[in-house]
Assembly symmetry: C2
């Protein structure tokens, strides 16, 4: 599944050109890397891909939709994370990998996509379903293992705990008040698990 290409595939007639589809996604990804979302207009994508504007509008509803598909096309790697038997180590390694990617161009582009999603509901939905949700589910599994092992409280609210882990990461990505450092990730996980109350 590659995002928001919703149009039905026709059974008859000239089939959709895979070459054209890929040319569009590659051109869009290049433009995103080079000049961000601002440089990624439908017109510039069409010119770069050597494709008619009409073809793009046929398969994607908006600039944001093409952009998110191109982002997935280029950056989605399905890293499998090991089960170390320690919930803290598992969560830390997941977040470290994520913020390492976010420190690069991929982070700036993701921030712009999140920004664009604030005025593009279709993009917002694709972002939730195709990016945020899968990552939340990966972490939810890790957390559930921690609960099953007795490491974590069994009555913890899963949604809130996921927000506690991911929220600060996206907050720093988008607000840019502090860097997404490895120390930040480690302290975040540690604080979240142990709390910040003084022990007597």
């Amino acid at each position: 599944m590659s995002g928001s290409e919703t149009t039905e595939v026709a059974k008859t007639g000239r089939p959709r050109s895979e070459k054209t589809r890929l040319a569009i996604l590659e051109a869009t990804a290049d433009l995103l890397v080079e000049g961000g979302l601002a440089a990624t207009s439908i017109e510039s994508i069409a010119a770069r891909a050597g494709v008619s504007k009409v073809t793009i509008y046929k398969w994607w509803p908006s600039r944001g939709s093409v952009a998110i598909d191109a982002y997935f096309h280029r950056y989605r790697q399905t890293t499998a994370f090991p089960d170390t038997g320690q919930v803290g180590d598992d969560l830390t390694s997941q977040i470290l990998v994520m913020i390492a990617a976010f420190r690069g161009r991929a982070g700036e582009i993701m921030a712009e996509l999140i920004g664009q999603a604030q005025s593009d509901p279709a993009l917002a939905e694709t972002l939730r379903a195709g990016w945020l949700q899968p990552r939340r589910e990966m972490s939810a599994e890790v957390i559930q293992r921690g609960i099953d092992r007795g490491e974590l409280r069994s009555d913890v609210n899963m949604a809130v705990l996921l927000d506690q882990l991911y929220g600060p990461v996206y907050y720093r990505l988008v607000a840019r008040h502090e860097p997404l450092s490895d120390d930040f990730a480690r302290e975040l996980v540690s604080n979240t698990l142990e709390g910040v109350r003084a022990r007597d």
Copy 2:
């Protein structure tokens, strides 16, 4: 201080018209409420305020800058929070007030402003300095009192802890995967203070 109006005030000549300034801010706020940032173009602000485009461009560099000033003009209320003597209660009440506002139109507009800031560095800076930072400082005082009282670990990293409190709130505001409920706020503060590890 009202945001990003940076131009120096002239000592001589015709003074800036306060009436015009307010007309622009009111018109912009109205447009934001009615149709969001998309409906808030420089042209529509000028028409609504009964003002020349040139006047707007004279005092603000971009659409986002006018919008954030209008947002502050309409929504910035400086609520003073009581010191209850319990860090958990103080933080909870701060966050409850904040998310109550964010559940309304003010929240949707703030999300759009954050979105716009991803491709408008000047707006991003105004948002950090005029909105995020002051709120972080208010919470930092509460936390510092908690440390001084011995409620919180004295070696806690202030920036990370602030991210733990505000990050999840903005994450829900922007990603919209779950509502900004009061229970969410209470559980967030409680989890942050106590941690989620099972006690033996």
